[in-house]
């Protein structure tokens, strides 16, 4: 069936620029991987996981946002073939075409850290830390760092599995931070491997933490360059250690490519340079809330990784 003859044509709102190139160079047939209300994940012809997102989600790597409210009502199902071309992505099974011409191209912005003073880094870390402590969702990495795991897991206390995961996250996180401080690439890789895939969700808490840390490490001028390299190597070598969605997200994060709400938060962290931590925290409340809304604990876990990165960046500058 020709693409233009689909009875349900959905205009795309925006598209990751990397995806524009891939669609032009590697058309073909992919397969729907998973369908949720707000997003559909598709295995593209070139083996990459591509996301079709509802308009209300934010821009992200390998993502097309489209004029859709609920993908699960389109009739597209996991396992359906999906035809990729520069014109759009079409689903014969649901007589649907996501039309790409006219969509705005999205690029992941970079924040040069060389322009940010150590005092500003510290101020950002203090503000973000306060907000996370006050508003972060317990259950992922926060439960792992809280003294009273039981209190965060409800009246009946954590299950043995939750406690085991919390213990694993805590130990691996501490090992990772120690290794980054020491600049020990091998130890960074070992600790990252202990975090990779640890946690119950579709993007496990350990991956989310790594994602936040990798985001800061990937910015130009970061002192965490060695950590970024080690993380990138671990992720590249161990695709089988976590879910495909989480691995794809992490692989992009080590290149500084994460969803727009996180980039916007990073941008806001350093925009108001003269502000004290309390003023900065007030200013950051809205973007932090948006980030905390990612998944169940994913937002909290990513910001915890970002916060760890900010603190490590500050420490490493002081030691040079």
């Amino acid at each position: 069936m020709a693409a233009s003859s689909k009875s349900n044509c959905i205009p795309a709102v925006s598209i990751d620029s990397a995806l524009v190139t891939a669609l032009r160079e590697t058309p073909g047939t992919g397969k729907v991987y998973s369908v949720f209300e707000r997003a559909i994940n598709i295995l593209a012809p070139w083996g990459q996981l591509v996301t079709l997102a509802a308009r209300r989600l934010d821009d992200a790597p390998w993502t097309i946002r489209a004029e859709v409210r609920d993908w699960s009502s389109t009739g597209i199902q996991a396992g359906d073939p999906a035809d990729f071309s520069a014109r759009g992505i079409s689903f014969d099974s649901a007589d649907t075409l996501v039309l790409l011409p006219g969509a705005r191209e999205w690029f992941a912005k970079r924040i040069p850290l060389a322009d940010i003073t150590t005092a500003e880094l510290a101020s950002g870390a203090t503000a973000l830390g306060g907000l996370l402590e006050a508003h972060g969702v317990r259950g992922g990495i926060l439960a792992a760092s809280a003294a009273d795991d039981a209190a965060s897991a409800g009246a009946s206390g954590p299950t043995a599995f939750d406690a085991g995961i919390a213990q694993g996250l805590r130990a691996a996180r501490e090992a990772l931070e120690t290794a980054v401080r020491a600049g020990d690439s091998a130890a960074i890789g070992e600790a990252a491997l202990q975090l990779l895939g640890l946690g119950s969700g579709l993007t496990p808490a350990g991956d989310d933490f790594l994602c936040g840390l990798a985001l800061l490490a990937a910015q130009p001028g970061s002192r965490l360059g060695a950590a970024r390299g080690a993380l990138a190597a671990v992720v590249a070598q161990h695709a089988d250690r976590t879910t495909l969605l989480s691995w794809t997200t992490l692989r992009e994060a080590v290149d500084g490519r994460v969803r727009e709400s996180l980039l916007e938060l990073l941008n806001q962290l350093f925009r108001r340079r003269a502000e004290d931590p309390a003023g900065l925290a007030r200013h950051l409340r809205a973007p932090v809330d948006r980030a905390l809304g990612i998944g169940h604990t994913s937002g909290t876990d990513i910001l915890s990784g970002l916060l760890a990165g900010l603190r490590l960046e500050t420490e490493l500058r002081g030691s040079m």
Partner: protein, 514 residues
Amino acid sequence: MSVTAVIRKNSYFDSVSLMSISTKANGIDGVDQAFVAMATEMNKAVLENLGLLSDELKAATTSDLMIVVVPSEGADGDELVPLVEELLVRKAPAAGSAEVSHRTIASALEEDADINLAVIAVNGAFAAREARKALDAGLNVMMFSDNVAVEDEIALKNLAHDNGLLMMGPDCGTAILNGVALCFGNAVRPGTVGIVAASGTGSQEVSVQVHALGGGVSQLIGTGGRDLSAEVGGVMMIDGIRALAADPGTEVIVLVSKPPAAETEAKVLAEVANAGKPVVVYFIGGSRDAVLAAGGHFAASSADAARQAVELSSAAASAPETLDAGQVDAVLARLTPEQVNVRGLFCGGTLCDESMYALLNDGHEVFSNIQKNPAFQIGAADSSRGHTFLDFGDDEFTNGRPHPMIDPSNRLARIVEEAKDPSVAALVMDFVLGFGAHEDPAGVTLPAIREAQRIAQEDGRHLEIIAYVLGTELDTPGLDAQRKALAGAGVTVTSSSTVTGEFARAIARKGAAA
């Protein structure tokens, strides 16, 4: 430790759902501990440390979901696993709410006997049957579905009336009950103003203007657009008035409708006298004398209805915003002598009506697809002429497509088309926010607005675009963000439906004076 495990191959649940499933699974009687997690190496390592890793779990891959149940002493794990799997089948709710999907009204009632309202949004051919089931089960009904026979509507409303229930609809798009906004309802402050409305966007407009004035809404009961027809006879509006009269949280009642049938209007106004509370009546094109004779408070506009309601309630009212004469003069000064016509392109039927009546009551001729005068009726395929006001939510425009409040793109082509007409002085349009409405109505429309402005500019004209955003700062997206987006594109943004009509009328007067 006895353990039962099941692997669901290639199963994906978002993390919010997984967390909810896991919490519920641990609450099942007989479950000591339940784990639901993706089968990654590290998660399996945790299970191994706990001595819970079976060979089956060991073989699972990262795309598989593990369900592990440790039964309490004396419980049978094999009996518990299906109960956990049932949670997966039901699909855990998004955003951690208590939302659960049921296939029938009966099964929903089986699960929760406290349910007291059914929202029916199935195809119109089946809606009456489902509504009858709900009413028979003792549920109030809000029927979003349209295309329901008027005979069915009458029978359902009489059935509801006899059983002391509400039958809101058919074609009822807006309600706020006990603080919960349904379908297109807006996020407004709770308060003491109760609204009964036979008009969806009309009731939305009154509720957001009450909010803007500092008041709040106790209940908003929709009746469906046909309730005040001669055939239906206002059964639901009368029951709604009685319900609000008996509601201790309601101090003032507001009635809202498009022009009602005369005999039904008389029946409803007779009920106003018995309400025992102040009743503000805003019937577009309604009679002031009839309302006053019934002991009601006549409202000449939606803004007037909101203002009176807030003043009659105990809320502290802020001053309503009015038409800025200086702004009107500035707009008129930019128009060429040939630019004399106003074109209204609306998503909300009552908003279209209110602006259209602002011109009609001023003696202007107006063409419209919702005109009562057949001589001035035009269809969706007809070109505009003179002053034309179109309701894009009318059946002829939707014709199987989503309502423009859900998908405002229906009118984009018309915006560009109207810009080509050198007689057009202004385009007037609405942007409706609300729970069921489009996420970004202004954003969807701005490219067409810019194109319209470009066409006029290249033709040496200024095309005035007047927009009203119906909503509150509590809505998503928020009112301010939508207003700013439009103002940033050079659009004149008004403060209410009433002011929008007044602005349109002021421009039409220029044409009449030419």
